[in-house]
């Protein structure tokens, strides 16, 4: 058995990046979405969907709990496991006090860590699950994330039936839940590295322009990941960001070039926020957002791509705006963070 120092020498690639020492993979994944997501381009890839009324009643919040809980139950069902086999649930959502996680976990009897990273929650919870599995602290973990358009409208913006015109930079909070079963051993999508983000802001205060607010954090984390792993961007088939949207994606590419000297092939730099809906037809302005957005990009695009053998290596970068309605109204900047996870096709060496 290697000593702690020997392990650390391999595992700690840099201040932000950890390399997983053992083979750890996402062995199964599941997704539950609303009707708008079902009608989007990724629709056929999702496991289950509900019409709006099922996710509105009796309350919006109960609809969100349903999305998260069913995603967790479904991933276990697909893997032929039961909740008793899972040592840890790392889960997060967008609501105050992470209540969706609390109510979804109630009755599941799985030891649970609640995670908050706003829209970066998917990568954050997946990283924590993968690191815990890699370290041998848990055998099997589930990372799960949910958000609901209506609950977040209510919490962050206005009552849903209020007639307001959305600004062109605004993004549409996705309705959905996704769960990922993480364990040791080879799988179709191996997790090789996790890069933790540093909280950044470049002065954007408008909560209707979260893409531009998050772009600096995304560029920073991508640059840190490439620097610390000594990899070039073209070693990845794809860099998939969480919910930068139209404006954020553009700004992220510009920042990567100008501040970090990294040129990324635009065709291999995709954003879940732009994949989830048909942007023009579905009236979502600058794209999708919400903690479910990046998770659905993972469950509806990235992981199915690995299963079909389309990718060798992908860098998944989920970005989060860490403001609250209170801080935004008080005129503060939006602190943002981005967490990255490197995936690699199973059976290939790192």
């Amino acid at each position: 058995m290697p000593t702690l120092e020997e392990t650390a020498a391999v595992a700690r690639v840099g201040r932000q990046t950890s390399r997983l020492v053992h083979p750890v993979a996402v062995h199964q994944f599941a997704s539950v979405v609303g009707s708008k997501e079902r009608e989007g381009p990724l629709g056929p890839a999702f496991d289950r969907s509900y019409d709006d009324s099922a996710l509105r009643n009796p309350t919006f919040e109960e609809g969100e709990v349903r999305l998260l809980k069913e995603a967790v139950m479904l991933v276990l069902q697909k893997a032929g496991r039961s909740p008793g086999d899972v040592d840890r649930l790392c889960a997060g959502d967008l609501l105050d006090q992470n209540v969706t996680v609390a109510f979804a976990a109630l009755g599941l009897e799985i030891p649970t860590y609640g995670v908050y990273g706003a829209c970066s929650t998917s990568a954050e919870s997946l990283a924590l699950a993968a690191l815990a599995v890699d370290g041998g602290y848990v055998d099997l973990a589930v990372a799960a994330t949910a958000s609901h358009h209506l609950t977040s409208e209510r919490q962050y913006r206005f009552p849903v039936e209020l007639g307001v015109q959305r600004t062109p930079t605004s993004q549409w909070t996705a309705t959905g839940g996704a769960a990922f079963l993480v364990g040791r051993g080879e799988g179709e999508a191996q997790i090789t590295h996790a890069t933790a983000g540093i909280v950044r802001s470049k002065g954007i205060k408008d909560p209707n322009n979260m893409g531009a607010a998050m772009a600096p954090a995304a560029a920073d984390t991508i640059a840190a990941h490439l620097r610390e792993t000594k990899r070039a961007p073209d070693e990845y088939d794809l860099i998939l960001t969480g919910d930068l949207g139209l404006v954020g994606r553009r700004m992220c590419l510009e920042l990567l070039g100008e501040e970090h000297g990294i040129t990324v092939d635009e065709e291999r730099f995709l954003d879940s926020g732009l994949l989830l809906y048909r942007r023009k037809d579905q009236d979502v302005h600058a794209g999708a957002s919400g903690s479910a957005c990046s998770a659905l990009g993972l469950a509806g695009f990235l992981l199915p791509g690995f299963a079909e053998g389309k990718f060798e290596r992908v860098l998944f970068v989920a970005t989060g705006s860490l403001h609250s309605p209170t801080t935004a109204q008080q005129g503060h900047v939006i602190p943002c963070v981005a967490h990255a996870i490197a995936f690699q096709r199973g059976g290939t060496s790192v």
């Binding site: 009796p58 309350t59 209510r154 206005f158 009552p159 849903v160 039936e161 209020l162 007639g163 307001v164 015109q165 959305r166 600004t167 062109p168 930079t169 470049k202 002065g203 954007i204 322009n209 531009a212 772009a215 600096p216 139209l246 404006v247 553009r250 700004m251 510009e254 920042l255 100008e258 501040e259 009236d283 302005h285 600058a286």
Partner: protein, 147 residues
């Protein structure tokens, strides 16, 4: 890139707001609201109301229409299209009261519906009253001075 430069650059990356289309739709939508209100007004006048007295019940009927549209869930879709054309007339005010009243019903009649129904319209009432007071004062002083 410093914060100021970044803000400027982010501006240029934004998709343009369709101001002309919005203004045109607001004109059409607001005009339609006013035309309906005029029809209601004429209806009351037809029933023997004097024109100044008919404005009160007309406003009530317009508020009723907007409240029903909100309750049935399509007012917000109209407002997304017609913008200020739907929001600025009294229909928008009705929507601003009914939408939160519905939304927070799940939190109880008193602390949900009762206390939150003014969440959006509260400022309109507060500043509306303040403005009415100031303009009343100006009117009174002007009258006394014989302006």
């Amino acid at each position: 890139m410093d914060a100021q430069t970044y803000l400027k650059r982010a501006r240029t990356a934004e998709p343009p707001a369709p101001y002309f289309r919005n203004a045109l739709l607001a004109f059409v939508g607001g005009g339609a609201v006013c035309a309906i209100a005029q029809a209601v007004l004429n209806f009351f006048i037809g029933y023997g109301f004097k024109a100044p007295d008919a404005t009160g019940p007309t406003a009530v009927v317009m508020v009723f229409f907007a409240s029903v549209a909100t309750a049935l869930g399509f007012f917000d879709n109209l407002a997304e299209w017609f913008g200020m054309g739907a929001s600025l007339p009294i229909t928008g005010f009705a929507n601003a009261i009914v939408a939160p009243a519905m939304e927070f019903r799940t939190e109880g009649l008193v602390l949900g519906t009762g206390s939150r129904m003014f969440q959006v319209a509260g400022p309109v009432i507060a500043f509306g009253l303040a403005t009415a007071f100031v303009s009343g004062l100006v009117f009174l002083v002007g009258q006394r001075l014989g302006v």
